[in-house]
């Protein structure tokens, strides 16, 4: 265990050391030169200088022109002639704006399914999400987190307001805490799966993190195998465990047989005496309080227990 951790640290240190060697290796490379565009657009230049766009730029501002359009006229008379690329043209369509980026990035493996994705079909362009010149991001409205990184969900939430609202609910994946990103499950650059999931199915997506739920179990819960979303809302819920509805109601929506599954559980089944009398309610029902059905059927995702104990997910 200890040696594995040491190995991991050594790997990271080695990773950094490799980069220490780069400057030496790079001595023979081309010289970085400030593009002519920076004479006026200093801030725009600085914002990309240390990124990949800046790395490929040159004295003529070829990377500036690659995105903003041919600028020879603009260089002659900056006040009258402006580059006419789609990115500076308010009338340009999303497709035209995206086309600028695809000029270079169409061969990226990340964009394999761009044309099949919902963003392309709904006229979302790259610049709707990507902030090339590092202008101020969205105003953050969120509880305090110990993470000081920019949160991808703030960008997605600008359009997906329903999802933003869900992630702020009491039961949520650690999205607002910055531990899970929207793009861990969804591929904003396009996917063949509905809702642009990265995996082929909802369950496969969930299992990519929740590997303990993969089974296969001796006894599998059909609803679990059908679709995790039958019971859970992955974006957030007011109910614990991101459930769509509270047990016992959620369970009763599928299960109704003689005796307890079909029992009506009202306030008289709680700990608290409906009359207000002190002490535990004499009619408290252990199938209603706390986790309700899950108090007994605790292995609801599946079980390897033998016989009926496993079949009914009791052990």
């Amino acid at each position: 265990m200890r040696s594995r951790s040491a190995l991991a640290v050594a790997g990271i240190v080695a990773f950094v050391a490799v980069f220490l060697a780069f400057p030496t290796m790079a001595q023979t490379q081309k010289v970085d030169t400030k593009p002519v565009c920076a004479n006026c657009h200093e801030q725009a230049h600085k914002s990309i200088d240390l990124g990949p766009h800046g790395a490929k730029n040159d004295a003529t501002g070829s990377m500036c022109q690659a995105c903003h359009g041919e600028a020879s006229a603009h260089l002659k008379d900056p006040t009258k002639a402006k580059p006419q690329g789609p990115l500076t043209n308010k009338a340009a369509t999303a497709g035209e704006k995206t086309g600028v980026c695809l000029t270079c990035h169409a061969g990226s493996r990340h964009l394999t399914f761009w044309e099949s994705g919902k963003h392309a079909k709904n006229e979302v362009s790259c610049s709707n999400c990507h902030n090339i010149h590092k202008e101020a991001g969205p105003v953050v409205v969120a509880p305090f987190t110990t993470s000081f990184r920019a949160n991808e969900a703030d960008v997605c939430g600008k359009c997906h307001q329903q999802i933003r609202s869900a992630t702020l609910k009491p039961s949520h994946h650690p999205i607002i805490e910055g531990k899970i990103k929207c793009s861990d499950c969804h591929n904003p650059h396009g996917a063949l799966t509905p809702v642009m999931l990265r995996a082929e199915t909802v369950n496969q997506q969930c299992y990519s993190c929740h590997t303990d739920k993969r089974g296969p179990y001796v006894f599998n819960h059909p609803a679990v195998e059908e679709n995790c979303l039958s019971c859970h809302n992955p974006h957030g819920s007011v109910y614990a465990k991101l459930l769509n509805e509270k047990p016992p109601n959620l369970c009763q929506d599928c299960h109704d047989v003689a005796r307890h599954p079909g029992t009506v559980y009202g306030a008289a089944a709680g700990f608290q005496n409906p009359s207000g009398a002190p002490g535990v309610n004499p009619t408290v029902n252990t199938r209603f309080i706390a986790r309700a059905c899950l108090n007994c059927h605790s292995n609801i995702h599946g079980s390897n227990a033998p016989g009926h104990r496993g079949q009914f997910f009791l052990r």
Binding site: G107, V139, V140, V264
Partner: protein, 708 residues
Amino acid sequence: MNKRQLAILIAALFVAGPALAQVAGDDAFRSTGSVTAGGIYTDTSGKDLSKFQEYQDLNNGMLSNIYFMGRNSKSWIDAYGENFGRDDMYVNIRGGMYDMFTARAYTNWLPHNFLFNGLTPFTGSGSSDLKATFPSPNTAVWQPLDLGYQRKDTGGSFEWQSYSPWYFRVDGNQVKTQGTKVGAGSNGLSPGNGYTDLAIPVQYETNNVTGEFGYATKTMTLSASYLASNFGNANEFVTWNNGFFSNGIDKTYLPPANNYQRVALNGTWRQLPLSSTLAVRYTWDETKSDATLGTSVLTTPPAGTTGPFYGAIDPSSPTFNGDQERQTFTLGWAATPLVGLDTRVYLNWQKMNNNSTHVEFADGGENELWNYKKENAGFDVYYRINRGNRIGGGYDYNHITQNRFDFDDTKSNTLWAEWRNTSLDTLTARIKYSYLDRSSNFLLNNAGANANDPLFMERFVRAFDLADLTQNRVKLTLDWAPTDNIGVAVEYIWKDNDYGDTTLGRTKDTRNEIFANLTYGAPTSWRVSLFADYETIKYDSYHRFVGVGSCNATTGPNCYDPNSPASASSYNWSANVDNENWLIGLGVDYPVNERFMLTGSVLYEQTDATSDMSAQNNFGNPLPLNQYPNVKMTSLNLKGVYRFDKNWSVTAGYAYQKYDYSDDQFNGYAYTGVPPTAAANQQSYLNGWNAFQSYDANIFYVLGTFRF
């Protein structure tokens, strides 16, 4: 990773930065970055602060982060790390050489807390052996209990691009999860004998490795990948003394180890006739898991006893070999045959073969090996009528064949249409309507010999995930930008699911949601974001209660038929769950001057959820649940950053959080004595999970930052 190793890592990052920055020459490695350190202090009130610290380490201590970014014309590195030595540490280092390779190493730690300051009658929580002697009514002698685990995800990737358009990529990571989670076990074999909360040990380790190679150009992308994933659990089960069985040792089975492998082939061809793109994906995956099957209810009966309830439930096979194999094939063809006409045709095919061991047990238990085939096809068409108007429509067909016990064949048809208007330069409006019709072949129409047979009731029960369904959905979005600095966005969603043929089960659910957002942002001045969300979610269901195992004089004849007359022991009832949510948020970024930046946000969320029930002749006297749950959350987040010069700055912040949770399932909570009249061996033993979540917290922090 211990603190010493952490120090080495941080030191390496520190060494790397200046060293890189010192290299001079025609192609100097230019860099920027920052080092931040400070402290956090929290003042809290509340019995169980696990909700406050659900996913974060908010204990008093040191906060830190390091950022480094640099490049020359050939190579680059981008590194960020934060919360070093805390439970929510994060380190991410990326780098590479342009057009040659990229690489990444990371570690991401996540705490997940469920319960602080709980109680349990067991000793050994966290282990796979929980010991207690029941009855144990005196909570004063119970053990303190915290439930939660720590998840550490460490990994990296390497992508070789030097022989572009060919590339090769390897990803690998290890996820270790250690701690406990929430669980419980029924005391007896049949319901009604109480239950006991358990701390379920979590000692998981998952190792994932993916290799991918491909060929990517602007007109064609081809790739093949292989993923191997192994999940290991140090504990096959947790054993615990069961008071119902005179402290015999019971056993709860834990998630079994599994091996998963997946092959994926992807292809995209662009610039085809009709300005089209063809995308294809095929995947094959397999999950395997083997287990030795238990043969009796209890692992060990109480000393000196061999009662029949410990007896054999022998399986037909001593071992279970789990093996599920899936295949998927997806094809999408997107084309723009005419200017303004955007189309897509798609096909999805999935198949799952369950090759696991079929097992029958002596007590009648028998596993169901689920197999399915899913066929999905459809098309989307968008047509831009003119610059200001675009219409769209589509059709989706879904067909599922499977061997589920209740439904074996499900078909659904979805039609949708939308209109998007951008006639006004400042306003974009979109309205979309979709209609879904789902019908399933129900296999239990003849269940039970007659209405006196308990199985007869299954004729009327439909699981909502596959029941016949009519769904109507409307979505309206408005984006209005009257000036460059002001933005208004409104989204309204109405969705109605009607399970028309369902007699018993969920009959209807409806959502009404409206979201409004206002933003103002002057380029060099203050910016504000204000949003307000309101949603109602309703679930209607209908059920039948029959309180006996067979119809008798009390229930009357045909008691399992919901159409039979009601009695005190057999009657129909309905539930209407109504969930109303409010959320209001306000955020402000205010640059006081060139040196001083203030940011702040406030959020208030309220949920009022109820369940109203009614029964035939008011049998059962169902009382409404008025706190199901009721939640109020307030959070205030203020931060100021003052820059002394281009190198030094200080950040100070204050945050306030208040969480009020009230729930009829927990109000009046008791750890034991539940129910008060039950026999000693039928008492329940609870640990406090979710019962005392409300809290108040004040958070203070100060950070100093050096930029280079």
